[in-house]
């Protein structure tokens, strides 16, 4: 008899606990309703990509020495380097270069390893097209520079979260010269350069 009552009591306790948890969950969602939306109204407002953004790859035709390092470091050997050997100058002559961005994973290995820095990452990310073959960029398309978000008169550029002043969550209506939290890279560099001579003096 008592065992049965204990069972009933435990069951009731569990149900009450479940109800409590549901209440807690409801209070969380209710609290979120009073928070400001973080929406970026995309075609009209765009986030400024960070300096290290890995977007569509830019290629400078004249710098390329057709060494094919980019092909070797690519996880799937994606860049197509079309060259022939010019016997008179004893140099490789680059004819075509292309990367298929429908297949590229934007890992950035090719940019990292290019000996002449002819590859670089841009901040372009709007690559949508009606046909996947349009994503196969040849050396002309790869040489184009993207339009910057900050220079587009149709777009309100918004700073990403890490580029906002300390404590600010909303990128809308910032004062134009609001400083981001922490030190800028060049400031860290300056501080390091100031500190460096002292260190060498103490060493010597």
């Amino acid at each position: 008899m008592l065992g049965f009552l204990k069972q009933v009591g435990d069951y009731a306790k569990e149900s009450l606990q479940a109800a409590k948890y549901i209440g807690q969950g409801l209070s969380v969602t209710f609290d979120h309703m009073s928070r400001r939306p973080i929406t970026v109204q995309y075609p009209y407002e765009k986030l400024i990509p960070s300096e290290r953004f890995r977007g569509r790859i830019h290629f400078e035709f004249d710098k390329c020495i057709s060494c094919e390092v980019c092909v070797r470091v690519c996880p799937i050997n994606l860049p197509v380097v079309d060259w022939d050997f010019d016997k008179t100058t004893k140099k490789k002559n680059l004819k075509h270069y292309s990367i298929d961005f429908g297949v590229c994973i934007f890992c950035g290995n090719c940019v990292e390893y290019c000996p002449t820095n002819c590859l670089s990452m841009t901040e372009e990310y709007e690559l949508a097209s009606y046909d996947r073959h349009e994503l196969n960029y040849d050396n002309v398309a790869l040489g184009r520079l993207p339009y910057k978000v900050t220079q587009d008169p149709m777009v309100t550029p918004l700073r990403e979260l890490a580029y906002l002043p300390k404590g600010v969550m909303d990128p809308h209506d910032l004062p134009p010269n609001a400083r981001r939290a922490g030190q800028m890279p060049q400031e860290i560099l300056e501080a390091a350069q100031k500190a460096a001579p002292k260190e060498t003096k103490t060493e010597s």
Partner: protein
């Protein structure tokens, strides 16, 4: 008893004075409340869709629809127009008759149930003696339509969704009916008007929610399950079943399911507010206030105020419940089918039975408070 505003009587009398026979006058009156309620139910879809999208957005720190109409209020109209202009596809190996009948059978009972939803003493299409029972009976037609559309789509996801919908509706109808039975026990009547009248007179203190707290919770949970709202939306669980019985539907047939689900949500919220939250009664009794300042209950302007306040109160309570339903949607994860059936049969059903027995016992013990 305050009879309140009597639109039908006034309308018929006015026509009889114009020289029309009383029978013809009554016949002329008949379609008017139906059309009003039909329009009201349709408008409620717009309101509910807008509320759902805006509240969902707020709970997720988004803005929600903004460009279709002021504050996105016409978003539902935009969705509806899109659905109307979409191609109406019937899958090649589907059963075309059942496939078309399914959505209609789901939607029609929901609209029919508005017959018994009162917005005031005389502001109801028909004060049926079986009132609330009619609603329970009509709501059990919907799973047949769901099963029909699930089966006729000739798609395994649809079939599973339809079966789940049927199982869910059947399991949750029983605790729901038992919860309603406890309320009916107290008011000695199935009529929705009588149920509200039994709660009237003491303002917020007289509402059934104080006498039936367990019944209120059981009924609300079961109503959410009947509407396939989120903690119980597994008939159309998109991660498992694509869209359940809706998978093969496009265009206006899909639109009917969509309309049906939202009207059903509003209807359930209305029924909850009638059964447990005092229907058109204000938190502070209007008739009591009137007697306090010495105005007769039959004063025309007071009757107009009472009637309009009653409509607003009913709608306010219903939409407060819709708000809770939307908030619950973003709070609770979907439960599994075995958990759903366990919850319905092993928890809600016994609790509802105990609640019914307790109500009966309390009614015998305290006939004053529990409607002897």
């Amino acid at each position: 008893m305050n009879q309140g505003i009597d639109l039908q009587g006034s309308f018929v009398n006015a026509l009889v004075d114009l020289g029309i026979s009383p029978g013809a006058a009554s016949a002329l009156w008949l379609p008017l409340p139906m059309v009003v309620i039909l329009i009201g139910a349709t408008v409620s879809i717009f309101v509910t869709v807008w509320l759902e999208r805006k509240i969902s957005a707020a709970a997720q720190q988004r803005i929600g629809p903004e460009f279709a109409g002021p504050l996105g209020t016409l978003q539902a109209a935009a969705d509806g127009i899109k659905l109307i202009f979409k191609e109406d596809i019937t899958p090649a190996k589907a059963d075309p008759i059942l496939f078309t009948l399914g959505p209609a059978i789901v939607v029609i009972p929901v609209f029919l149930s508005y017959l018994i939803v009162p917005f005031g003493q005389n502001l109801v299409i028909t004060d049926l003696g079986v009132g609330i029972f009619l609603w329970i009976a009509l709501s059990s037609i919907a799973p047949i339509g769901l099963l029909m559309s699930g089966y006729s789509s000739n798609n395994k996801y649809s079939l599973l969704g339809g079966l789940r919908a049927a199982a869910q509706s059947i399991s949750y109808e029983i605790p729901m009916a038992l919860a309603v039975l406890a309320v009916v026990l107290m008011s000695n009547s199935l009529s929705t008007i009588d149920i509200v009248n039994q709660q009237s007179g003491y303002g917020i203190l007289g509402w059934n929610i104080w006498r039936q707290p367990a019944g209120f919770l059981i009924f609300w949970i079961a109503a959410l399950a009947e509407c396939e709202r989120l903690p119980f939306d597994l008939p159309e669980a998109e991660e498992e079943l694509v869209a359940g019985y809706q998978t093969e539907y496009t265009g206006m047939k899909f639109g009917l399911f969509y309309v049906g689900s939202y009207v059903n949500l509003v209807l359930s919220a209305l029924i909850v507010s009638i059964l447990y939250l005092g229907g058109w009664e204000s938190p502070i009794s209007v008739s009591w206030l009137a007697s306090l300042i010495g105005v007769s209950e039959t004063t025309p302007w007071l009757q107009v105020i009472t009637a309009s306040l009653g409509i607003m109160m009913t709608l306010f309570k219903a939409y407060a419940l819709v708000f809770i339903a939307v908030l619950l949607r973003w709070t609770m994860p979907r439960i599994r089918i075995d958990q759903l059936l366990d919850f319905g049969w092993k928890f809600l059903l016994p609790v509802a039975l105990v609640n019914l027995l307790l109500t009966a016992a309390l009614k015998l013990a305290f006939p004053v408070a529990f409607g002897g």
